[in-house]
Structures are given as structure tokens and as C-alpha cells.
């Protein structure tokens, strides 16, 4: 199971733009690197990241083989109401990892 580091403010004044930072452990194997026997290691990358805010999608990113291992993404959202941010990562195995963070809008 991948390990993640999430940085979201616990409380934000209504209407303010706030920053969200996410880091996830992942090899991001490009599919272009040979192993010891000369065969290509199969591609294994996170290709999709989605962030929802109380169930509504607020940010989505497509990732490609040129992105380094353990991808770090930072983006912003506007604080509308208290609730839950959910982060979803999808890789080539389809394995989806989800992490959540509560945010209080004051």
C-alpha cells in the first residue's frame, strides 16, 4: 500500500483560496528501463489523480512516464463549506489509493 503525506490547513476562512499539497510513494516505472537481464521493466505509473471536495471533483491531473518517482502535487481550492477533501490515485494496476482530510471553514 502506498504511503502518503498530505498538507491541508485545518481551518480556512470562507471564500479564501488555500493550498493543498500531496505526496505519494510510487516507483513511477517508465516502461523504458531494462532490468538486469536486459528486458524492459513493465510500465507502472500513477496516471490519474483526482481530488474531490464534499464529493465534487475540484482538481484532476494526468501523469506521464516522465514524472519522477514519489510524485508531489500542489494545487489550490476555494473554501466554500466545511467538509471532506478526498484524494484518489490510480496506477497501471488500477490499484486505487484514497486518502481524506477534514477541513473547517470559518
Amino acid at each position: 500500500m502506498p504511503r502518503t503525506l498530505i498538507n491541508v490547513p485545518q481551518s480556512v476562512p470562507r471564500g479564501t483560496v488555500f493550498e493543498i499539497k500531496t505526496l505519494v510513494s510510487h516507483p513511477m516505472e517508465t516502461g523504458f528501463r531494462p532490468d538486469e537481464s536486459g528486458r524492459l521493466r513493465p510500465r507502472d505509473i500513477i496516471h490519474t489523480f483526482v481530488c474531490t471536495y464534499n464529493g465534487e471533483e475540484v482538481f484532476r491531473a494526468e501523469l506521464f512516464p516522465a514524472i519522477a518517482a514519489n510524485p508531489f502535487l500542489s494545487f489550490t481550492a476555494v473554501a466554500t463549506e466545511s467538509g471532506e477533501l478526498a484524494f484518489h490515485w490510480t496506477d497501471d494496476h488500477g490499484a486505487i489509493h484514497t486518502e481524506t482530510a477534514r477541513i473547517t471553514v470559518t
Binding site: I6, K21, L23, S25, M28, A69, N70, F72
Partner: protein, 244 residues
């Protein structure tokens, strides 16, 4: 507050100016910011894995069963390598605990598990000054490390000291040559896209001068570690550092 901190810093500064610089001081501001933010420093992923391994019962007992909370390791990494029958690096100490105390198998060098355990132990000393162990056996070990540091090697016939003492601060192709202080290990190196031990770093430098790298855990690498830690005595530990 700033002024007070500055005044204090001036008071505790040693009499002679210290011109030693950690790799942290000479890397770019973006990489520095990455190291300093625990939610952006990928090395923290290994520290978290290490926290989980600390309490996992391997061979019947967990590290925590004998040592208690991992915070009890505060200060330990700042003293390594030590002498206990033989010179011992931090990785070797952890593996000795696994084999003699835990009844578990030793972890392979550079395995994610050994890196994670080393990272979590060394992380407890973050911010503490490197304090080389006082055991008199270590004198000869450090002297041997210094000899190796000054010995030319490889097809390029270069000694560690020729880069890290004589040409530190200059550029080698695109790379800045640091003074070569072991202040942040294991480190997350951007070029590796992963975590690596001090010995991996040293073997890398040997490869760069086309020398045959010393084996992991060899007396040569532990001696080099002991010399480098003494050379960096007093400098704060940064684990997990980020390096380009």
C-alpha cells in the same frame, strides 16, 4: 526575536570561524525548501515506514519491545560509527540487533526496510550536533579512514580529498562539488528518485572516478564513515536530508 536569536548565535559561535558547509547550505533554495517541509520531503515516507517497522515483531520481538518508543534513539545516530568488538556503522548495529537480540535475519544493504529503520533512528537526532564517539579504539579507525580519503584511486586517479577538500565549491560539469559532509543520511537523492545510505553515496563517488567500489559493510567504508563523521563533528544532523 530575530535580533535575540542572532545575538545568541554570536555568543555560542566558536572562536575560530567555521567554514564547513553542509550539502544543504550549497544546494538550491527549492531543494532546501523541499527538505525543510515534512509534507514535501519524500524522505519522511521512509521515516514513517521505519516507525511502523519499529513496532513490528520480527523473530518474536519488535525493536520497541526492548527499546521502548523510538524517541529513545535520540542522539544515537549522531555518535555512529562506534566500536563494539569491531567498528560498527548504524546499519550494522541495527542488523546486529536483528540477529543477536531479535533472532531475525539481517536486512540487505539498501533494502527499503533497512533504509527505513536507519532513517527513523537517525531522524531522532535531527538537529543534534554530530558527536563522534569517545571510544579510543576509534582513533585508528578514523586514521585509516583519513588515509583512504587522501589516497588516489580509480582510472581517474583522484582522491576524495582532491574534490572535497581542494576543489569544494567549484563545479564538476554541471554539479557543484560539496565539502562531502555525511550530515543527512540516509538521504533522499533526487537523482536516485529514492532513498540511499551513506555507503551508497560513497560507492557512487568511487564509481565516478572509475574505481572499484568497496563492498557494502566493508572495513574501508566504515572507516571512511568514521573519518567523515569526525570531520563533520559539531555540524547538525539533518536526516532525512534531500540532495540533488
Amino acid at each position: 526575536m530575530r535580533r535575540l536569536a542572532l545575538a545568541l548565535a554570536l555568543v555560542v559561535l566558536p572562536a575560530e570561524a567555521d567554514d564547513r558547509r553542509s550539502g544543504f547550505d550549497v544546494m538550491g533554495p527549492d531543494t532546501q525548501a523541499m527538505q525543510q517541509d515534512d509534507t514535501a520531503n519524500p524522505g519522511i515516507l521512509w521515516v514513517r515506514d521505519g516507525e511502523a517497522l519499529w513496532t513490528r515483531a520480527d523473530g518474536g520481538k519488535s525493536c520497541a519491545a526492548c527499546h521502548g518508543a523510538v524517541e529513545s534513539m535520540r542522539g544515537a545516530a549522531a555518535r555512529y560509527p562506534v566500536f563494539d568488538g569491531a567498528p560498527l556503522s548504524l546499519e550494522q548495529r541495527i542488523n546486529r540487533c536483528r540477529t543477536t537480540h531479535q533472532g531475525a535475519t539481517p536486512l540487505a544493504y539498501e533494502s527499503q526496510e533497512l533504509l527505513a529503520l536507519t532513517a527513523v533512528v537517525a531522524h531522532q537526532s535531527r538537529g543534534l550536533p554530530i558527536t563522534p564517539d569517545a571510544d579510543p579504539h576509534l582513533g585508528a579507525v578514523r586514521a585509516e579512514g583519513e588515509r583512504l580519503f587522501r589516497q588516489r584511486q580509480g582510472q581517474l586517479d583522484l582522491a576524495c580529498s582532491q574534490c572535497h577538500d581542494d576543489n569544494a565549491g567549484k563545479r564538476l560539469a554541471g554539479n557543484l562539488i560539496p565539502q562531502g559532509h555525511p550530515t543527512g543520511y540516509p538521504v533522499y537523492r533526487l537523482e536516485w528518485q529514492g532513498m540511499g545510505s551513506l555507503q551508497r553515496r560513497l560507492r557512487n563517488c568511487q564509481g565516478a572516478v572509475r574505481a572499484e567500489p568497496y563492498a557494502y559493510g566493508s572495513a574501508e567504508l566504515v572507516a571512511l564513515e568514521a573519518y567523515l563523521m569526525a570531520r563533520a563533528g559539531g555540524m547538525p544532523l539533518e536526516t532525512p536530508a534531500v540532495r540533488p
